[in-house]
Symmetry: C2
Subunit: 202 residues, 2 copies
């Protein structure tokens, strides 16, 4: 019944509806909201949309989003270039950076191996990771992929590829998330938490 609206408005709703998880109702709400915004904001938004595709690309070294030659992390001289953390998505880099505890560099795969979705190793930035490990003085590769079924598959695959490259391959710990209730944890998490139990630090 979008035909009741002027064509231009209907187009705006259609554009917004493309966003993931946004239905017609939300798209209409967003569209009316945008109509209320000042012209300046809309022009800036439009300008940004026009530029992103041209100006943003994966970093040729690590795959993280960048607008210049290299991403901010690869460009940063203070980062330890010999430790590479492998993540699935750009967002994971940002999540990890929020912790302020890792000072190495990243490698963004662009997804996980998934037979179901038809995503195979060649579809991911895996070859470039192997090359990077082979051609640089890398001491540790930390696999930081979400421990889902596909994530585990990907992690095991990478471990297999990397283990004879003379580099330490580690992975993030699995266990109970902080603040979680033990009786709400799923069995697999409990098993992991038990198997990976550790001594109290002294």
């Amino acid at each position: 019944m979008i035909r009741m609206y002027p064509e231009l408005f209907a187009k705006l709703v259609e554009c917004l509806r493309q966003l993931p998880g946004v239905g017609e109702k939300s798209a209409q709400r967003y569209a009316f909201f945008l109509l209320e915004k000042d012209e300046e904001f809309l022009l800036e938004f439009a300008e940004v949309l026009k530029r992103v595709k041209k100006e943003l690309h994966p970093c040729p070294r690590c795959g993280f989003l960048q607008s210049g030659e290299r991403c901010v992390i690869c460009d940063d001289l203070s980062r330890e270039k010999d430790r590479i953390m492998v993540v699935s998505y750009d967002q994971d880099v940002v999540a990890m950076e929020k912790t302020n505890t890792f000072n190495g560099v990243y490698h963004v795969l662009g997804g996980v191996i998934s037979a179901k979705k038809g995503i195979y190793p060649d579809d991911l930035n895996i070859n470039s990771l192997i090359e990077r490990v082979e051609n640089n003085a890398v001491t540790e590769v930390i696999i930081a992929i979400s421990p889902t079924i596909d994530g585990e598959t990907t992690a095991l695959y990478l471990d297999k590829l990397l283990k004879d490259k003379g580099v330490l391959v580690t992975r993030l710990a699995s266990g109970l998330p902080m603040g979680a209730s033990l009786d709400y944890a799923d069995e697999l998490t409990l098993i992991k938490a038990l198997n990976n139990r550790r001594k109290f630090e002294e």
Copy 2:
């Protein structure tokens, strides 16, 4: 931690974050999704954003969104111009049009009276409604405002203004929504449903 992203990407996230109910996580998700879209879509989206503010305005007669001189409904010669349905928002017009049962015209108030939000009669398209009723051969004004507290206030206010204008003022029925469970209905709805009970149609 949006500073990890290139500035242009951060700007895109910021724009998307302005949308109602969209937090940082969703905005990032939308932004990455837009990056995956083809250039053509992004340019069209940008174009629409640039144009909406200039080209879309409330219909000078009824207040519904329009891009020409009059809205599609006021422009439609087959509509009964003597019956005006008063609604709060543009979306309500569309919701009502979906039913295909009303062939009159609309008047969009642009909101409801709300002391809490500081919205008073002068902030709404109420004067233009009164003028419209006074200067045209209007036989019925149907008040179709959501029966919330503010909506009821607005409806009663309009009824008071209109009742000595020689026009029939009606309002949408309140009662149980179709398909609802009686035992889940709130008390006020049950009271309305009981008070407004009616004979079976023969």
